[in-house]
Amino acid sequence: QKKYDPGASDTEIKIGNIMPYSGPASAYGVIAKTEEAYFKKINAEGGINGRKINFISYDDAYSPPKTVEQARKLVESDEALIVFNPLGTPPNTAIQKYLNSKKVPQLFVATGATKWNDPKSFPWTMGWQPNYQSETQIYAKYILKNKPDAKIGILYQNDDYGKDYLKGFKDGLGAKAASMIVLEESYEVSEPTIDSHIVKLKASGADVFINITTPKFAAQAIKKNAEIGWKPLHFLNNVSASIGSVMKPAGFENAQDIISSNYLKDTSDPEWKNDPGMKAFDEFLAKYYPEANRIDSFVMYGYTVAQGLVHVLKASGDNLTRENVMKQAASIKGLEIGSLLPGIRVNTSATDFAPISAVQLQKFKGETWERFGEVIDAEVGG
Amino acid sequence: MTQAQLAQGSSPLLAVRDVSVVFGGIIALNGVSFDMHKGAILGLIGPNGAGKTTLFNCLSRLYQPSSGDILMEGASILTRPPHRIAEIGIGRTFQNVALFPNLSVLDNVRVGTHCRSNSDIISDSLRLGWVRRGEAELNKHVHEIVTYLGLDDVAHTIVSGLPFGTQKRVELARALAADPKILLLDEPAGGLNHEEVHVLGDLIKRIRDERHVTVLLVEHHMGLVMSIADHVVALNFGRKLAEGTPAQVQADPDVIKAYLGSKDQ
């Protein structure tokens, strides 16, 4: 029996999305462009249970008031079924209350903040990627285990993303945080270079460097470290763990032995040359998004999350109500997506709104990441 | 007997005492002193760069003398900021016309009344009763002055396109709107032809007589100065060169040498 909420019909499913296509965060725009291309592919292949996806994506320039306007437009004017993968913590915070009161799914938000996994207070909001706090907790545990006398210097971006990472790291160290951390440096995205912070970190005598920066600054930091001859044990956040768009520009020789973690396959990693998942990705790009820059890690990100959505919609069958979509999203069991690292699966439940919650540590060697250790379940508290 | 003569002996309305002004290395005024008596028209002449405008600027407190004092009705004006000069009755025009180019003639003149009225931004925004009544009164006053100076035809025109001479008249109107005791006129005859200068001369005298304004007149048009001034001060290189009746000054050999030049030269 067919059941529809606004945005769904026999022929189409309207999916809303909000992305910063313009303004300082425009680098993320490719995420939605990739998603759009992926839905084109799905539609070309017959759609979802016979229905075409109508992907409506709006620009909010990363400005929360604009996000609210666009979200309301999606819900009230375009009548989209769900708002899918809107990007950024502040924009998502701005619309969370509204979407929950309207009972519109805010599905697979494109930010790793920890707060999206809160089904009790916000049953209509669900995260996607491993959350920032758990990632740095993993680093913290690693340090406690392997280098208990570390003197730690941290560089983080002064916004929600940096602070979330920072919090996770400190939580991970627990009581030892105060004694182990010798310097916490923050930078603003408006700074042209972060050289002076690196100089300061080196001078602090730190021998472990927690690098919580976005790609450009990560590359600057890696390069500057080499230039001033600072060789700490270097942890780099997953946000910037891209070989093609960070390690290579920063110089492979400068990036050796950096530790990071990942849940996605790196498109520049020769390891996946013959991997079927990667091949599918390349075929998709060639056919539906040829102008894409495949080394851009956001392309892979968009490709993956779009598949997550397609899975949920398929599972919803003919019952395309918002409630059912949310229900299906909350009951993904062991979904494998070709672009996820081996052993990492998508899992959700009525009490677990964190679809991807596992990562694997990796170390940069030569020109590739070498993964090591187990796949670690990274759910905070879990 | 002129009013000026009547007033002689009593204390001066305005007294310039030993005023000097220095710009970097340039001494623009060097110990200048003179008095102005109520009801007089005092001519101030001197070669270019003698310091006449500089003296005006001291009187309206745009410049700070490096020494000396300026007394208005016995009180020094040097402690006053520039915007509190108009309220003690010193009004001026500018050598090179300094109107508010984007405002109409009427509004230019209205600004002239600024120091004679008071209201605050809140009452103004709410257009309270007393503000409205004040504006009405002010409008009457402003229109009267505009008519007095024959500016009715252009009253609503934006001043920037007006002929130069008309602009000078608007400046005069704006200065008069504040009911000054002393009017400082910096080359009001510039750009006027002979006939127009004559009309202007009459106007200045009328203003003095009818509106009881004392006038300090800087002018290179000797005909005008000689015909209307009661008293003339000549400056040269920032110093006072001569002082006296127009006839005396005009005949002063120093003044002739430095400023007038002899006819047969």
Binding site: - | G49, G161, P163, T166, N193, M222, A258
Partner: protein, 237 residues
């Protein structure tokens, strides 16, 4: 004598307002002509129209070449110097830079240096102030600078808009001596708008009187000086 500048049926406009209503006149090569008129008559507009600084119609020819359609700077490059009303001083630059700018179109470096010295001779106060910011000069000093700057072009035609404005009587006379001299010796043609009609008529060969945008009288300077109305309005005797 040939006509150096020929103006026919000149009309000029400020926005919707017409300021000149069909002026025609000509200047002979080497002549010194004066333009008289009341406040707002259109004298300034006439000079501005010759240099294409206002919207105008009609024919202006300089040495047989039409000036209409030429940009102001090209008109100047033909050798027409203009001392504008209000002086147009480059107030933020030094006195000397102002003079150099007057000669900016010239290529003879030495000649320019010599001419600057000559200007300093004409107007010694400018020499004293040569490094001073021009905007801080007194009104009269700036007027001298404006005339000197125009002379720096080594013009063949000079348009002067009330050059005696704000000048002390002594300097006015000197200025007119200089103008007379360059007119006679350097054969510079001069058109001068002047309120000091007496001096101007003394010096000029020819004069025009303009009223509300029309020429109402023309003739030799002597004729004009003897006209009743002119005597009354402009000379005062």
């Amino acid at each position: 004598m040939t006509a150096m500048l020929n103006v026919k049926d000149l009309r000029a406009y400020y926005g919707q307002v017409q300021a000149l209503h069909g002026l025609s006149f000509s200047l002979n090569e080497g002549s010194l002509t004066t333009l008289l008129g009341a406040n707002g008559a259109g004298k300034t507009t006439t000079l501005r129209a010759i240099c294409n600084m206002v919207r105008s119609t009609g024919a202006i020819e300089f040495e047989g070449k039409p000036l209409s359609g030429q940009s102001t700077e090209n008109v100047v490059r033909l050798g027409i110097a203009h001392v504008p009303q209000g002086r147009g001083t480059f107030t933020t630059m030094t006195v000397e830079e102002n003079l150099q700018l007057g000669a900016i179109t010239r290529n003879d470096k030495k000649g320019v240096v010599a001419d600057i010295e000559r200007m300093y001779e004409h107007f010694p106060v400018l020499k004293e102030r040569h490094t001073q910011q021009a905007g801080t000069l007194s009104g009269g000093e700036q007027q001298m600078l404006a005339v000197a700057r125009a002379l720096m072009l080594r013009p063949r035609l000079m348009l002067l808009d009330e050059p005696s404005f704000g000048l002390a009587p002594l300097i006015v006379r000197e200025l007119f001596n200089i103008l007379g001299k360059i007119n006679r010796e350097d054969k510079v043609t001069i058109l001068v708008v002047e309120q000091n009609a007496q001096l101007a008529l003394e010096l000029a060969d020819k004069a025009y009187v303009i009223e509300t945008g029309r020429i109402v009288m023309s003739g030799s300077a002597a004729e004009i000086a003897n006209n009743e109305d002119v005597r009354k309005s402009y000379l005062g005797y």
